[in-house]
Amino acid sequence: MRRGILQRIAGIALVCAASFALAALWPPEVAVKAQPEPTPEERYASPLELLLSPDGQELYVLCQGTDEVRVLNAASGRVLREIPVGHVPRGFSLSPDGARLLVTNSWDDTVTVADTHSGRVVATWAAGYEPSSVIEDRTGKRLFVADRIGDNITVLDAATGAVQETLEAGRGPSYLTLSADGRRIYATHVYPNPVPHRTPPRSEITIIDAAKAQVVDRMTLPGIAGEFHVALSQDGRLGVAAELHPKNLVPLAHVEHGWAFVDTLTVFGADAGRQVEVPLDEVDRYFAMPFGVAITPDKSRIFVTNAGSDCVTVIDTKRMLAYIRKHPEPFAENLSASAHYVVARIPVGKNPRGVAMSRDEARLYVANRLDDTISVIDTRALRVVETLRLAGPTNVSALRRGEQIFYSSHSFQGQFGCSNCHIDSTFDGLQWDLEPDGFGRDIVDNRLIEDLRGTEPFKWNGGNPTLVKECGIRTEMYFWRTQNYSDLRLTDLVLYIRSLPSRPNRWLAADGVLTPAQERGRAIFYRTADTLGQPIPLENRCSYCHNGPKGTSQKSFDVGTKKATDNSGLLDTPQLRNIALTAPYLHDGSAATLEEIWTVYNPHDRHGRTNDLTKDELNDLIEYLRTR
């Protein structure tokens, strides 16, 4: 308790000190009163997903910040039950009869099974790595669980929780949707599938036969790097997936020309006649990070939350389908198209995510993750008629403000924000050509931003000694093309990023004991002589550059990986934390796998002495690295 108080005081002092220091440099945009951090008991609810009970009377709210599901009276918003679940829940669903609530606990690798009547947790079952969504089939025989960092769909026995099989998904499977007839499950992915270096990204919608529990089709999404929810019409003739279309192959210049992202939907099914990508943005205004999707039962309207733009886009389905039929050519980047089918942009709370539609389609509930509210939209009037406020801290702390900034699209014309490339505060699996280095120069791979303390400097060339510089002037000038942040906003943002913890390492046993292969790999990592008995020079040992608890000396080295497009071969030593998650590798993402770092890009042993290793030994080294 005392430690918690001290941490809070220290945090407040840091905020204040930084604020005073930076205030001298930039005038504040708005006056923000410093507020205390909430105690652990006062965590923000951070509602992420919503469900309505089969009778429509109860609204289930997945509260990611408080590790619970709150059950509300859908009409009054009164809390009926609170169901504690595991750590960082990410997805949930009801069994076909509504008797069971299933919740994925993404940091525990478990699924919570709760009795909806009593609110009691009746089972907690092991799933794959970072379970993010769960669906029970109509027969009640199987559960399908999307494992975000396992890249698969784990199939569980719905009665016992026993793992029956794992299905190969795309990369980062995170959202599952069951078709209205119960025959197919559609899985969408937050990361793109691997593609050859510097080629357009590509994602997929994995389609599973629920009865066979097998993948039967993969809908390729060219140009797409981040997919979120998919909605299917009740007649099975229309499907809509929310997604990001990045432009990472061109230099990041000319934001005014729309160089970074387009926010789109992939529309498919018999009604569309073909698979087609439909833009949501307008020529001079973007509606960033489309996340939740709902189709009205009569298919007249499609509702999409824009998580980065704090609004809900409403589409007239008939007009959209007519536009699709009239335009057989691709039009994803024609931002004038949206005027033909978007009928409303409804302002809601901060960072709107999951949605739930009442059976009479009169009301749409929207979870506003970063202000702990639920917007209730009248789907005919197309306006918010009520806002339900979830219990929790009433103040907005510096960390919370920083998180709000991180997830808002504050670039010119609201095109994108931090979370576009750092999806859910992670990475995007892409390589970008940043403008300051020159067009076509210094292609850089995106990195994980968890647990960054002690890994400075930043940028692959080590050019930014602090996060303030990394997130401040340079980003404002080159990324956002907007006015500088105020000193307090920048401080809040940096505080938030510095607060991001490292997620559990799935390849390291809970007790920290290494497997024999990992132990052999560790010995190779720390060896001082090669297999011929010759001493390895200091700078050629893995542990020299990748030292310390996070695997970085925080210094730059030339390890022989400079490409013709690079201005310099001198590169910052990247941290190794959770390195297994972040393929591809090397500064420019040219190594598709960890193996290729050494089998392809280390011909002269400049990136560590490795060419004396047998294949067995290299495999051992990689097994060890995956535990970091």
């Binding site: 396992g150 794992t166 993948v215 089709d217 598709a592 193996e595 294949k615 067995d616």
Partner: protein, 371 residues
Amino acid sequence: MKPGVLAILLAAAVASGQAEHPARSARAVTQTVVPAAAVPRMPHFRWENFTTANGLPDNHVFSVLVDGGRIWAGTNNGLGEYENGQWKVYTTADGLAHRAVLSLALDQRTGAVWAGTMGGLSRISAGRIDTYTQLNSGLSNDVVYGVSVEGDNVWVATAAGACRLNTRTGEWSLYNERNTPMIEIWAYGVSAAADKVYYAVWGSGLLEYTQKTGAWDMYSDPDGETEIVLLKDQGLIHEITSSVSYVDGIVWVSTYFGDSRYDGRYWHNFLTKDSGLPSNFTNFVKGVDRNRAWFCTDKGLAYYDGTNWAVYRPALDTHQPEMIVRDAGGHVTEVPVSTAPAHNYVLGIDFQGHDVWVATAEGLSHGIYQP
């Protein structure tokens, strides 16, 4: 011993007549007068053959896999998928590791197909191909002779030993002369089950992995590498093994000098001189159950029902369709047939109910069971 040296020995053995010419022996025996009623009832097939003329990607078919109503053919020039009368071909342009597909395995649970090629290991799942090579993964070698799926594990036989991919964790485990009794590391075939995994290792006999203990054991020819059989049924017939099939607790092993059956305690060996095998040179074996097995030889396809033998092939001399039945007493009878597999050099087989699909050097053959 290097494969090249063994090949020379093999050639010498064939030239010296130790590998008996099956056509000659069959013709000699058929002169025995056998009453028609005494001929054992062996399965009859009507053979339909696929070549490039009707959609097969290449006539040289190394491997075949039955996946319900879908047939996969691993050829010298791509992977063919036959369904509803249509061929779809996967090539390196689709992401296949190499044009030459040597081996195939089906993950029964997920429906994914694993293809071992001359340039790596590919997984085909609902049209998407993911490829593992010795450069981009922990795969021990790009020449993949055999592949078998068991639970979450994919067991692979390569030109540089055995390896296992855990598809849930992504971990690769390599098995070779460093950590197994393997002497040669040219692993030709693999057959994996929940209790045991068997590898046919060219020059190292049969390797057995016990899942429970993680221990390896090796079975070799008690005569050594000699092509002369001194100790019949005392152990593996020869160390130049080409494939293995583990079914119902029985191990069926093919070699280039005869075939073996092992029940965990006793060995039984098959040679042309005392069985219905058309040749001792066997490319591939696949067990049906503990008693029955199919043998893919260089001189035809053979079926053993536990007692009797049948051989299906184009006749070696006339190339006319031929079916030869040999009973337990060694009586051989030619059964009149009007169709035969595409070629007598047979490389692989799989079962589709009572039907069989056969990979040959000159096409893919569908044996349609005739009740």
